[in-house]
Symmetry: C2
Subunit: 205 residues, 2 copies
């Protein structure tokens, strides 16, 4: 009997400027066994972005077909574009015992929480509201509209924070990465489904 015959699905969200991408990069350097899902999107590739690495770039028609056919685990729209997680690859990895990470925003995270309640949701936040504001407003080069949009998005994101399982506060990168690694390790030990499996296998009902 093993606690992780099946992989665990982890969802990481956090506002722009929370540093979740940097933490993730740090973690992957230490846990090469993790699989990070690549999202599909209808937005245009930016210079340097690679098909299948940054995103799977698809047409609007194809994306709607994916939604219709149940080919995405979750999807969300942002600034007029669709973003979503292709289901098949994630399922395949989980089935083969690999832990999978989705870096997605709140809309999608709530869909995952509903459809896969055993998923572990992690919210990354800067240490203080002041740091968050400084990161959202940037170096003064963005337009007021862009900044306003970011603040509005962050406000919505924080309104969902208590529906997440863990909050990682990104004060120092090293500490935040260690926290995240602990969450990934502990997340695979959460009882519930695992507990029921142990209960059955120990024949002590």
């Amino acid at each position: 009997m093993s606690s992780n015959a099946r992989g665990t699905l982890f969802v990481i969200s956090g506002p722009s400027g929370s540093g979740k991408g940097t933490i993730l990069k740090e973690i992957l350097a230490r846990r090469s066994d993790l699989f990070v899902s690549v999202s599909a999107t209808t937005r245009e590739p930016r210079p340097g972005e690679q098909e299948g690495v940054s995103y799977f770039f698809v047409t609007r028609e194809r994306f709607l077909e994916m939604i219709e056919g149940g080919e995405v685990l979750e999807h969300a729209s942002y600034c007029g574009n669709y973003y979503g997680t292709p289901r098949a690859e994630v399922q395949k990895r989980l089935d083969s015992g690999v832990d999978v990470i989705l870096e997605i925003e709140v809309q999608g995270a709530m869909q995952i929480k509903k459809s896969m309640p055993e998923a572990v949701l992690i919210f990354v936040t800067p240490p203080t509201p002041e740091v968050l504001r400084a990161r959202l407003t940037g170096r003064g080069t963005e337009s007021p509209q862009v900044i306003e949009k970011r603040i509005e998005t962050a406000r919505r994101e924080y309104s969902f924070i208590d529906l997440y399982d863990y909050v990682v506060i990104n004060d120092e990168l090293e500490k935040a990465a260690d926290d995240m690694l602990a969450v990934l390790r502990a997340g695979a030990l959460r009882a519930g489904a695992a507990g029921r499996a142990v209960k059955e296998s120990f024949g002590m009902n």
Copy 2:
């Protein structure tokens, strides 16, 4: 703002022979900041047991007074003796930001879960039912009655396992101790109360 202005309460349970005591000793060697609560009991001290280290040894009258006066966080009876966790010291440590560990059995753990839902419950189990049975039956020196009693107790304990938050499988000590350390670190990052605090402090309701 800090996620752990208050300490986190961890409850560790598991059947006789699960090795939870050995794991705990291993952990304390690496996390000297943790506080392990000392239980009060009405049973007689055994040779080598020290007052205030192994247990606080009290009379039956005093124990009943402690229950009446709300001086214990939880209590249970086993083989005609009472066991309980003195409340004051635990509260003091939690209030000062220290993480506290209670090594108690299922009856008490369920009382804690009810009265302090923010507590993190961890169940330690041997890797297989065969190993559990071997450990419960011991080296053949115990009476059938003692063995029967242990199996009955283990059966009751496993029936509560899915009410725990985490299951640590004690296959190799080193791995189990690392798992437990991850759970202790992640446990302090659980959202819920912490999430609500972040939500308020970020003024994004």
